[in-house]
């Protein structure tokens, strides 16, 4: 009898009073850090970490020539995913494909026709929400390399627990017990420079549009929409963070070099 009771309790996430196992609330994200220009041979590089999940992205390009099957009137993007341990298998190929299609939609492909831009993603630590972390890191690395983009892509990972709660940015332990895990990528809204203060009003509609949605598990449609809303709000916070980061480093560089 005792063993059976133990099995049941360990397979559900301990959420009491809307506080998760590591002390966060349902909607709270782990601490984000982002650093750019780490590698001196790559044209652009960025390191993004959410808690213990850390990903290093490097961008090389644009290089001359496209692959054989590609359209030579557009630039092509190539993604190489390197896992922390183990051989490259099907899961890495899946991540590469998702990343490639996401980044293809944010890059301006007609600026450098007949070129290839390579993005290499190296997983340094994996503690949940790995794909989101990688997409954020690659986007910042593309900005660092000076590749023209339509808008920034900001990614968030949400999950639906067995009890019906929606949690953001799950850890590996939480991910294993979730009913469904959803990775969302939103474009960050174009910001007018003069109207900076006004656009942060809560009543204003946030930019619509979604770039990528990848789900593993089973979820009902109202739950999915719930996740979308939560994810969008969280992504505005992340995109503010990215923007502040870019502005401050740009200001510093401008002050020194002129």
């Amino acid at each position: 009898m005792f063993e059976m009771v133990e099995l049941i309790t360990s397979s559900t996430l301990h959420i009491r009073n809307n506080v998760r196992a590591d002390g966060r609330t349902l909607n709270q994200l782990r601490p984000l850090t982002c650093s750019r220009n780490l590698l001196n041979r790559a044209h652009g590089s960025a390191r993004w970490s959410q808690g213990d999940t850390t990903v290093l992205a490097a961008v090389f390009g644009p290089k001359a020539g496209t692959k054989k099957g590609e359209n030579p009137e557009k630039a092509s993007i190539e993604v190489i995913w390197k896992p922390k341990t183990g051989q490259i298998g099907r899961r890495e190929k899946e991540y590469e494909m998702i990343l490639r299609q996401t980044l293809q939609s944010i890059c301006l492909l007609t600026v450098h026709p007949n070129t290839t831009t390579s993005i290499i993603v190296q997983v340094i630590g994996d503690d949940g929400a790995l794909l989101s972390c990688a997409i954020n890191a690659s986007c910042v690395a593309l900005v660092d390399a000076g590749i023209p983009l339509k808008h920034l892509a900001v990614s968030i990972c949400c999950g639906l627990t067995v009890g019906g709660h929606v949690i953001l940015d799950p850890t590996v332990l939480e991910e294993q017990k979730l009913k469904a895990v959803l990775h969302l990528v939103f474009p960050n809204p174009p910001l007018s420079i003069h109207h900076k203060t006004q656009s942060l009003l809560k009543d204003e509609p946030i930019e619509h549009g979604i770039i990528t949605s990848v789900m593993r598990g089973v979820m009902s449609v109202p739950d999915y929409e719930h996740c979308l809303d939560r994810g969008r709000i969280a992504c505005t916070k992340i995109s503010e963070f990215v923007r502040r980061n870019l502005q401050s480093s740009a200001r510093e560089g401008l002050a020194k070099a002129t």
């Binding site: 001359a64 900005v143 339509k150 174009p190 910001l191 420079i193 870019l246 502005q247 002050a255």
Partner: protein, 317 residues
């Protein structure tokens, strides 16, 4: 270039932070331009008549930035200049490069670009100086002019159809560079100026600031006139026997270290800045090897702050 690994103690870190803070304050006062990030809208007065340049695109009738950088306006052209951009070659740039490969009738040089640059045999003066058609014998003797791993100074003549550069080295000031150091700095720190060849007479040193971020510091070489073939043999023997004097070698190292220091701090590289740093190190009796140490690093940053403050005061009146 690898970042300088300077280990600063606590007071030095504080001083360095204060210096950089001063610089950004001065920078914001000088109001050089509008900083934009990706997908920020750029304020334009009249929509018609504005040419949208590099780094911009149109979105919903508004001009939107596609790069992170500074907005520059030239008459009706609006474009975004990226701050830490890769080297973008233009016709007429002075370039310092290293020979990687010898191909039929051309040399392939490594410059700081996505592809190797090409220096054709026709774009190079022959050793005997006569203007004639290059024959098969010349092609076989290419190695006597430049070999692999030689450092060469040349000028960009144009672009080839696949985007790689076409160089020319027809003047006397271009050609093989010897007796000196090649330094690699980030290309955006070297701005395009009227003069890239500098002869520092008080040090006896030649300084070439390549636009691609390769900087040559070497012993001063008198640009020789076209010599006859017989004279060349004797001068070769002279070259082997004469060594660069110790003082000139020390000056070369001092200037090279000041270039490394300025690029590590992230300041724009100009002849005045290099000479100032070298003079300052000489006057404070700092050893050449201590120039890359923590103390001089912080002192150089502070000195730059002082210079900018005085420049701002002069501008104001």
């Amino acid at each position: 270039m690898r970042e300088l690994h300077v280990s600063l103690n606590q007071t030095q870190k504080v001083r360095l932070q204060a210096a950089f803070q001063h610089l950004s304050d001065i920078g914001s006062q000088a109001s050089s331009g509008l900083l934009v990030s990706v997908s920020d809208t750029i304020p334009v007065n009249n929509e018609d008549g504005i040419l949208k340049g590099h780094g911009t695109s149109e979105h919903d009738g508004q001009v939107v930035a596609t790069l992170c950088g500074v907005v520059e306006r030239v008459n009706k052209l609006v474009y975004v200049r990226a701050l830490r951009a890769r080297y973008k070659p233009e016709v007429g740039d002075i370039i310092v490069g290293r020979v990687i490969e010898i191909a039929p009738k051309r040399w392939k040089l490594e410059i700081n670009f996505s592809q190797d640059a090409v220096l054709m045999l026709q774009s190079m003066n022959l050793p005997d100086g006569i203007q004639r058609r290059r024959t098969v014998v010349d092609e076989l003797n290419m190695r006597t002019i430049f070999e692999e791993n030689d450092v060469i100074c040349a000028e960009v003549r144009g672009f080839q159809h696949d985007g790689s550069l076409h160089l020319q080295a027809r003047s006397q000031k271009y050609g093989k560079l010897e007796r000196g150091q090649l330094l690699r700095v980030p290309a955006y720190l070297v701005k395009r100026r009227k003069q890239h060849f500098h002869d520092l007479e008080q040090y006896g040193v030649d300084l070439i600031l390549g636009c691609n971020g390769f900087i040559w510091v070497g012993e001063h070489v008198v640009p020789a006139d076209n010599e006859m073939v017989e004279d060349q043999e004797s001068t070769l023997k002279d070259k082997e026997q004469s060594y660069t004097p110790l003082e000139i070698r020390q000056n070369i190292c001092r200037i090279a270290n000041s270039v490394r220091l300025i690029s590590a701090l992230g300041f724009a590289i100009s002849v005045d800045a290099i000479i100032d740093t070298a003079e300052a190190s000489k006057s404070s009796n700092i050893d050449i090897k201590d120039m890359l140490g923590a103390e001089f690093y912080v002192q150089t940053a502070e000195r730059e702050v002082q210079k900018r403050i005085s420049l701002l005061k002069k501008k104001r009146g």
